[in-house]
């Protein structure tokens, strides 16, 4: 197969775009796609400061690389979750992020969850009995809290995550199966900031993870190949597998599903009925000050307090 732009041997074929490209042209195409998404969904402007949440994986490091190549001022944020899984997963992830940042002279913020919360994420899940033996729920809670905190404290204009099209479509599929209209209404490539919440953006939302992986590979980015040891069996992965089967039969099905959803959302399909509040009233957390739906402590601070109490009870 030949590159459509130059006729050289193609490195990747994107069946849904009917587009095959060689390595150098693919490395131009990815930033162009990201820039289109940034502009189309009004994510941020060229003078804005962006905080990129990085995990050491292909998507987030690829995104950081693309934003810097596009000329944006982008710092990184790594959240160490204390996950070992027999492969020193978090240590490996931090090393990848540090190596990436140091090689390019970029600024990387790091948060160590075991120091912040008093326990690693798997320990927190065990101690607080959140998430039915799976730490994914407490992990999501912690990452959202810490990403928002660092973005606000650092005065960043946007918090960017490496969510790709497969991530977005898997979540969309799950929420559609359950008709979770509240979640559907909030799923967007760009969420505007609100008091106490940093704006969130996903510049890779139209790129398949096959494309983000190819980008990382061709750019020589060293990333963590392994999935999080706790991801196995996650519903999200099951949905991805189903959608990949569909994509194999109908190239473009994932992109079409996502873009049709965004058009429907823009047309107001998921607006809450009149009389119902689309955004619940928010209160500042009595402990950390971040917005929370109920007066008092936010879920994150309650979890942290519970961990401390449980650890003290064990010691006694």
């Amino acid at each position: 197969m030949k590159c459509r732009k130059c006729g050289a041997t193609a490195a990747i074929n994107m069946r849904h775009h009917r587009l095959a490209l060689c390595g150098p042209h693919f490395l131009e195409w990815v930033p162009e796609q990201a820039q289109r998404a940034i502009e189309r969904y009004r994510m941020f402007s060229p003078t804005d400061r962006v905080l990129v949440a990085v995990s050491g994986g292909k998507d987030s490091l690829g995104l950081w690389d693309v934003l810097v190549r596009l000329g944006y001022s982008a710092d990184g944020l790594y959240i160490g979750l204390g996950i070992d899984g027999g492969v020193a997963y978090s240590d490996q992830s931090l090393t990848r992020c540090r190596t990436f940042a140091e090689a390019r002279g970029l600024r990387l913020h790091t948060v160590d969850v075991p120091s912040e919360l008093g326990a690693s994420i798997p320990e927190v899940a065990r101690l607080t009995h959140r998430g039915q033996q799976k730490p994914c729920s407490v992990c999501g809670l912690t990452k959202r809290h810490e990403m928002n905190r660092v973005a606000l404290e650092g005065g960043y204009d946007a918090l960017a995550t490496g969510h790709n099209l497969d991530d977005e479509v898997a979540v969309l599929f799950g929420n559609t199966l359950n008709w979770s209209t509240g979640y559907l209404g909030r799923q967007a490539p760009a969420l505007e900031g609100r008091p106490g919440f940093a704006p969130k953006v996903k510049p890779f939302c139209r790129l398949l993870e096959r494309e983000t992986a190819a980008y990382a590979l061709l750019r020589g980015i060293e990333y963590v190949y392994d999935e999080c040891p706790h991801a196995e069996g996650a519903t999200n992965l099951m949905h991805k597998n189903l959608l990949n089967r569909l994509e194999a039969e109908r190239p473009g099905a994932k992109l079409s599903f996502y873009l049709s959803f965004l058009r429907a959302r823009e047309a107001g399909l998921f607006v809450q009925p009149e009389g119902e509040l689309s955004q619940p009233e928010m209160h500042p957390c009595s402990s950390c000050g971040q917005p929370t739906t109920a007066p008092g402590e936010c879920t994150y601070c309650r979890t942290r307090r519970r961990v401390r109490e449980q650890k003290e009870a064990i010691r006694d």
Partner: protein, 68 residues
């Protein structure tokens, strides 16, 4: 008579002469979930497998809790 496909330390022997894509489908590996490399170079899955060659597949699917 065969070519070798390697995915996550696991080796698959397949008949040469077919495309990588056909080999993947026969092995029940979704082509969307992997990248194909030959001698460290990314290749497209219409490439015909040659006798004795080794193709390394890179899994691209990632999990974890995406935000709703």
């Amino acid at each position: 008579m065969t070519a070798t496909l390697i995915l996550r330390e696991k080796q698959y022997e397949v008949r040469h002469g077919m495309t990588v894509r056909d080999a993947l489908l026969r092995l029940d590996i979704q082509p969307e979930t992997v990248l194909t490399t030959r001698q460290g170079q990314l290749i497209t899955d219409d490439v015909i497998l040659q006798e004795g060659e080794v193709i390394r597949l890179i899994a691209v699917i990632s999990g974890g809790a995406a935000e709703p």
